[in-house]
């Protein structure tokens, strides 16, 4: 492939999100910059170099994207810089081996926008990410940034802004899906000042990085959304709560706030209107529970991050007892687009009751992992098999866990479920903030439930009894089951405790915590029974309940398993079936992984 030999007006985007940075992308940027700066005076139009936020393709990073030809290079190394500079930047040639590999066709595509992974997506919240330098307010403005704010301030009344958001059907992207416009209206109605707007950037789900990506890659979209929201409800002060582990997000958002002040988008008399608004960053200590709105507010106030009952809504009594609108990062990032392009445009995307798009972090046993933004109503099957490219290693799909640690596991039978707030709820899971973990046949569902309950037992704030003590005891039962100490009646007890934790807990953390247990019991009960009654882990994960045997009919005697076994437990002559010595086997599963003939079988735990 050769492109047009044209070096004028080229823009080189180097992804400098957390994932790519960890893989040395800053070095790549610096090396490219050196070469660009060393260019002789013969170049009328110099290539422009930019660092961008996270493209959400961390597994394929570092990423270098060259515009306007949109040549998309993945897994770039510093040693590739010379070639990229000489061939692509100067001569417009494409380096085939660095191109994005489309797993659905097995072919490399010039722009990843041609891939199945990208084509199915619709970028609204992520509209600018990877395309702009997050540290440059001009980049944001160039792509239409702060237009919506201007429109809101000068062409719309606060009332009209709220009704526009209401008509758009936007629902909170943080998990519960509360209608955003309705929340704003509740807050506007309360005649008590000051009022506050808060951005929840405490994303704590393991494996989720939607909000981080937005805050790092397009901080102005969040700030613009908040100014519009503040104008609508009559607030003069906002807080962006970011967990301190997100150091790059803290840095980029802080820089964006500074720049917005210097351009008159924040502060007194915004854009020459009579509207004043200040915003500041608050860094969180990294407790999962501080993603809960009332715990987050307690944390901003400087108190212990514990939730309070919400019989009186935060829109009435929130931060320091004053009316407060709290929305998630992704929700705020959607606001400017809705104001700019209109509620009708937004409402035409998605399903009847879930409008617009949702960002998911698609991870686990799928071929294409990363951040995706898809219209609501897309099926799980489309996400996992079309966008995700199916299960890695041609394994078999078993379940998908949605909604973060307190979401549920959805089985194969429900793969055609449309992804929207209500359908996921009905399946016993939830939208959550958008984590999506795909699991294959080698995953033990009891162990999955145990894993999430362990996380939740540690992250429960410990204020209320059902959550603190209930989760702890449910975990105790699950640990017993995984270790072969499961008893008759354990499932019934788990279900009964689940009811109490779900119904009687104080906040959303406890109220959703039993979901992993409830859904795995509902959809994978036989696996629990195999653990409890037969003392066997069908997936071969729980060590106490697993041993391996080589099927002599399938084994070709290649010896790979014996070579890889760290315990030296496998023996056999070349060409003849091998044998595992169960007494020295440590059940690590390496033999099963490396066997190319599926000859290693999982059987129940060894009797002691």
């Amino acid at each position: 492939m050769t492109g047009t030999p044209n070096n004028s007006g080229k823009t080189v985007l180097v992804c400098c999100g957390t994932g790519c940075l960890a893989n040395n992308s800053m070095e790549i940027y610096k090396e490219l910059k050196k070469r660009v700066e060393a260019l002789g005076p013969g170049f009328a139009v110099r290539p422009v170099l930019k660092t961008t936020g996270c493209n959400g393709l961390c597994e394929k990073g570092p990423i270098v994207n060259i515009l306007p030809d949109d040549i998309f290079y993945c897994r770039v190394r510093v040693s590739d810089v010379d070639e990229i500079f000489e061939k692509t930047i100067l001569r417009g040639e494409v380096i085939e081996r660095l191109l994005y590999l489309d797993t659905s066709t097995g072919r490399r595509v010039r722009s990843h926008k041609e891939s199945e992974f990208y084509r199915r997506q619709l970028k609204i919240a992520l509209r600018n990410i990877g395309q702009i330098d997050p540290a440059s307010i001009d980049d944001y403005i160039e792509r239409g940034g702060y237009n919506a704010l201007k429109k809101a301030l000068f062409e719309m009344s606060p009332e009209l802004v709220i009704s526009e958001i209401e008509r758009s059907g936007l629902r909170g992207r943080g998990g519960a899906g509360f209608p955003t416009g309705y929340k704003w209206r509740q807050c506007k109605r309360v005649n008590s000042f000051p009022k506050y707007v808060v951005c929840n950037g405490d994303e704590g789900d393991p494996g989720a990085f939607m909000d981080r990506s937005i805050m790092e890659g397009d901080p102005h979209s969040v700030i613009e959304g908040m100014i519009i929201g503040a104008y609508a409800v009559g607030s003069k002060k906002g807080f962006i709560y970011i967990r301190d582990e997100y150091s790059l997000a803290v840095r980029n958002v802080s820089k964006a706030i500074e720049d917005a002040y210097s351009r008159g988008f924040l502060g007194r008399g915004i854009m020459g209107s009579g509207f004043n608004f200040d915003v500041e960053v608050v860094r969180g200590g990294g407790a999962f529970v501080c993603g809960e709105s009332t715990a987050l507010m307690a944390s901003i106030e400087g108190r212990v991050g514990e939730p309070r009952v919400k019989y009186i809504r935060s829109t009435e009594k929130g931060l320091w007892g004053q009316p407060t609108v709290l929305n998630n990062v992704e929700t705020w990032a959607n606001v400017p687009v809705i104001i700019d392009r209109g509620a009708d445009w937004f409402a035409a995307i998605g399903t009847d009751r879930s409008k617009g798009t949702k960002v998911f972090s698609l991870v686990g046993k799928v071929k294409n992992t990363g951040l995706i933004e898809v219209p609501m109503g897309i099926t799980l099957r489309e996400i996992i098999f079309d966008i995700g490219g199916g299960i890695t290693g041609n394994g078999k799909f078993k379940a998908v866990q949605t909604g973060g640690p307190s979401g549920g596991c959805i089985p194969e039978a429900l793969l055609d479920l449309p992804v929207d707030f209500d359908s996921l709820d009905r399946a016993g899971s939830m939208m959550g903030s958008g984590g999506m973990i795909v699991m294959d046949e080698t995953t033990c569902m009891v162990e999955v439930a145990r894993y999430y309950l362990k996380f939740l037992s540690e992250e429960s704030c410990g204020k209320c009894t059902p959550c603190r003590e209930g989760i702890r005891r449910m975990l105790e039962i699950l640990e017993d089951i995984c270790a072969g100490r499961g008893q008759e009646g354990d499932l019934e007890l788990l279900l009964e405790l689940s009811e109490t934790v779900k119904e009687a807990s104080l906040c959303g953390l406890g109220k959703t915590a039993p979901n992993p247990v409830l859904t795995t019991i509902k959809y994978f009960e036989s696996e629990y029974l195999a653990h409890i009654r037969d003392k066997r882990c069908p997936a071969g994960v729980c060590r106490k309940l697993t041993s391996y045997r080589i099927n002599t009919d399938l084994c070709r005697g290649c010896g790979l398993c014996a070579k890889k076994c760290p315990a030296g437990a496998i023996s056999g002559k070349p060409g003849a079936p091998h044998i595992i010595d169960v007494s020295s086997c440590i059940v690590c599963g390496t033999c099963r992984e490396v066997c190319r003939f599926n000859a290693v079988e999982v059987i129940g735990g060894r009797s002691e």
């Binding site: 407790a287 009952v309 540690e458 410990g462 009894t465 059902p466 603190r468 003590e469 005891r473 109490t500």
Partner: protein
């Protein structure tokens, strides 16, 4: 404003909590973390009730649910009883040795715990009343530390608390007697810190720590010439009044 609690019609003020209305009408709802003197916390969840409003039923804590409309409350449905019993079981599995917990366990017919690991010596149920009381006094000498299963109540760095005045309000509000207070030889020891006790100028009984006496004096600007215990103060006030008459 009219509400129905367990079939009984009750009168309630706007914003009044269900628990207060129920108690006024002789309807018993069990509580642990509730104290009339402190703002509600809703942490023990023992006082859960079912509220039916506009055809929908929900589980709420009665100590903090404000009545703002015509609702029907059930304090002891089968479902509520089952969950409350579970909560008592969970609390008893955590802290079996407090008297109050023992009583509750008897009341709900909960057998000796055999399924879960139990720490027989533990008394604290982490209701948070002690922390709230200390905060209310204006000291916040103790706080909950950590979270999840490792949560506990402790002074900063688990050292004898600097801000503590030894008033023992924390121990006084504790429903399970989990906070140890020792008094001997004119000293009170609490949170591993020893406080000097002052004698009542009237009856000669030890009744207040020096720090507590100073704190009250400074905070309320009351200059008691000499410390008097509650009884002797009442007596002296009464005597003064008699003189006036």
């Amino acid at each position: 404003m009219r509400v129905i609690i367990d079939g009984k019609e009750c009168e309630a003020g706007y914003g009044e909590y269900i628990l207060d209305v129920a108690r006024r009408n002789g309807i018993h709802i069990p509580t642990l973390c509730h104290s009339g003197a402190l703002p509600g916390q809703g942490s023990c969840r023992l006082c859960i009730v079912e509220v039916a409003e506009a055809g929908k039923k929900k589980v709420v804590v009665s100590c903090l649910y404000p009545i703002t409309g015509e609702i029907e409350v059930t304090t002891n449905s089968e479902r509520i009883y089952r969950m409350r019993r579970n909560i008592v079981r969970l609390l008893a599995a955590r802290a079996p040795s407090g008297e109050f917990i023992k009583k509750l366990r008897e009341e709900y017919g909960i057998p000796e715990e055999t399924r879960f690991k139990v720490d027989e010596k533990e008394k604290c149920i982490l209701c948070g009343l002690c922390v709230r009381a200390c905060e209310e006094i204006g000291l916040s000498a103790i706080s909950t530390v950590n979270r999840g299963t490792t949560k506990k109540v402790a002074p900063p760095f688990e050292e004898p608390p600097e801000d503590c005045i030894g008033c023992a309000s924390c121990a006084y509000v504790c429903p399970t007697g989990a906070i140890e207070v020792q008094e001997f030889e004119g000293k009170r020891v609490i949170w591993n810190r020893a406080f000097e006790l002052l004698k009542c100028a009237g009856c000669g009984r030890y009744f207040i720590t020096r720090q507590q006496y100073e704190y009250i004096k400074n905070k309320h600007g009351i200059d008691m010439k000499e410390p008097l215990c509650d009884r002797c103060r009442q007596k002296s006030t009464a005597e003064k009044l008699i003189h006036l008459l």
